[in-house]
Symmetry: D2
Subunit: 232 residues, 4 copies
């Protein structure tokens, strides 16, 4: 087995995507993330949008599955890295998965009409639309779109996402564009592969998970939750 | 990199610890587990004790950390194997870890007196002793010891464990021998390495975790738990 | 949040699937696994077949993804449970996934003809058929089928699996029934839910992974593999 | 079970460490990371140093344990998040663990003399010192220290780390300060808790792991490595 990569090398001549590690160390961290995943440094405009996207998803309260699994594993008497891994394991199709799915849709060649039609037929949701709390608009989504427009990004991918929303509204299902939908639209707009949709969310959320694991270290170990046996 | 192993090989001449896979397939599963971990088949007596140990730990209600983390990861929209992995991640020092620690103690050359003295000084518990519910005796522990005695195992390791209990009682800390302590004593008695203490527990509990993940598949995704923000 | 389960309870009246834990401790481990996953004790015949299935998959050499990931994580300086979890994480769609997929097919109402037709159209493999080494027959698969027949299991699910093989052969793709296909046929025959296909494999393989992690503990930490940078 | 946190809340009034999420979205991502882990925004100087630390560890070639385990799990047919989790699982005591250990030492009240004496007695390495390739100096470590000094950080923690190096050199073990040691010194200098040492490394390395998993998606599944059976 010999691993081949176009990502990085180690040793005296260490590089990341063709740039010397010393040079990478002079970039801000978010630019380095952009470089390693997209293969090129961002422009100032791309960088600003990317930072907004990442910061928007850094954490979201204590009760969601990734936080619960990370803190629960810590509570079983485990290391920082095992606990963080458990948090990331929770980030499945139902937890941040809408970003990837929405990116795939706005990057596809299917019309918004056809996509919405298919989703309705299959009884599935259109990813990136709808929110439990926000009925008029999701302020995080609006801020991301605004930041994109301020930086000159207002093209086809954002349009595609908004068309999905409009199509659905025309069918009497009027839902807000949520933060996942806005991230999907904007990341597609700056040219990112939809296969990285979940990866973006993982990178954004990892610092929040680390913070929760650190906080849990100060608690009593072995949290037991309430349960009831409903068998015979 | 070339991996070397004394455990098994694949292909037409597949073996496990020197026995042909066809022969292993004729063993019961628990004997095959014994073989792969200890390097030899159990006697009938060892096999009976080992089965009791494994079955005793197969599951223990819905509210403990491993069940919660496994079901929570499933609930995030993940595969069976990712969810089971999250359950196993929870099995840290505070969740089944007492077996390994107690095995290490009963296999050490330190006297029970010295061990108890050190634990009391360090303000630590003696592993394998004490139970929240059982004050007189832990019936699972008693059953494991009984099964061991019936099969002719009543030697030094079991004695060492009971001496730890007695030493502690002499210091006015009278605690029951719990199931972890009984497993540690009996597995040591049949000659198992303490470094496998956690492994035994993982193998025993994995079927329970699989059952919980399967059950969770029928629930609504994305379980959100109650939480409160106590920051400024 | 209140967890509800039909699997088990803890405490003085601890049960598994309605049976007292004390009773479960008298079962062999493989019968206890059967009970917790299927909700009932196996007959002697079911028990024998189930043991053969589990033992057949206990380990398969050192070079496959689950062994490599488990040993590599151990080599990073991690606990037994974190390392075993990494091994189980590797057991995805391409690693033991054929069991679940084949169980789903033999339990479906689709005809073998239609299934094979669809697979060929989509350019996909029929799960449970074909082997890199064995051209005439896979001896493990034969042993599992034999064991099933000896115990009186020779019904519709096994027939469905063999029909898939025959249909494919009729299209000039003559492949052996492999061990995954035999497990799928036999587990379906004794009435197991296909959603447990991956779970069965995880339970069977976990002892092998534990053995590899224990073996790796005696090696130097931080295994580095050969790699080459192919970027600009 | 009610989870309490001082980290963040969700919903219309979502905050992170007391700051509104809208405000956090205006911070650069690395400042948001700093905020969520340290509980306060960095000064411009702290921010610059922190960015250098994170970027320095973003990736390091294809052959180390975290890359191998992440790519191997992907190769088993798994999701992005399961694969990234396997990479993070590899980041144990022997893989990035020196940062945490060195932070603990430079933050302790023990003298460098005593620390080095103890380490030599126990036959252990002093964390943060020594490198396989660099004999004169590790350029990444130098760059991190330089960046710290340029930004006015040149106090006790950095001094403590350099004293460890000097003490060891006085005992005729002359080792370079490596990148882990420099990160430990500088993060301690800007007031970070050593219990976050591994967390910093996880956050820094996650983008590299995501990039490797994405690259592996384009490869054939089920990588098998070379192995040999050395048993009887």
């Amino acid at each position: 087995m010999d691993w081949e990569t176009e990502i990085s090398s180690s040793g005296e001549e260490a590089v990341v995507r063709g740039k010397k590690l010393e040079e990478v160390m002079e970039m801000g961290f978010s630019d380095a993330i952009y470089l390693i995943l997209k293969g090129e440094r961002p422009t100032d405009e791309e960088s600003e949008v990317f930072n907004t996207v990442l910061s928007s998803s850094i954490d979201h309260g204590v009760g969601n599955p990734s936080t619960v699994s990370a803190r629960t594993v810590q509570s079983g008497g485990n290391s920082m890295n095992a606990s963080v891994a458990a948090g990331i394991l929770a980030l499945g199709d139902s937890h941040g998965g809408a970003i990837e799915e929405a990116m795939k849709l706005v990057q596809s060649s299917k019309s918004a009409e056809k996509i919405v039609e298919e989703k309705l037929e299959e009884g599935e949701r259109v990813p990136g639309l709808g929110h439990k709390v926000y009925e008029e608009e999701d302020p995080r989504a609006q801020k991301i779109l605004e930041k994109a427009r301020e930086n000159g990004f207002d093209g086809e991918s954002i349009e595609n996402m908004l068309e999905l929303k409009q199509e659905l509204a025309d069918k009497k299902v009027d839902l807000v564009l949520n933060v996942d939908g806005a991230i999907a639209a904007v990341m597609s707009e700056i040219g990112w592969d939809w296969r990285l949709g979940k990866g973006i969310f993982i990178i954004a959320r990892t610092p929040g998970i680390v913070a929760h694991v650190r906080e849990e270290m100060d608690e009593e170990p072995f949290r037991r939750q309430e349960g009831s046996y409903e068998g015979e």
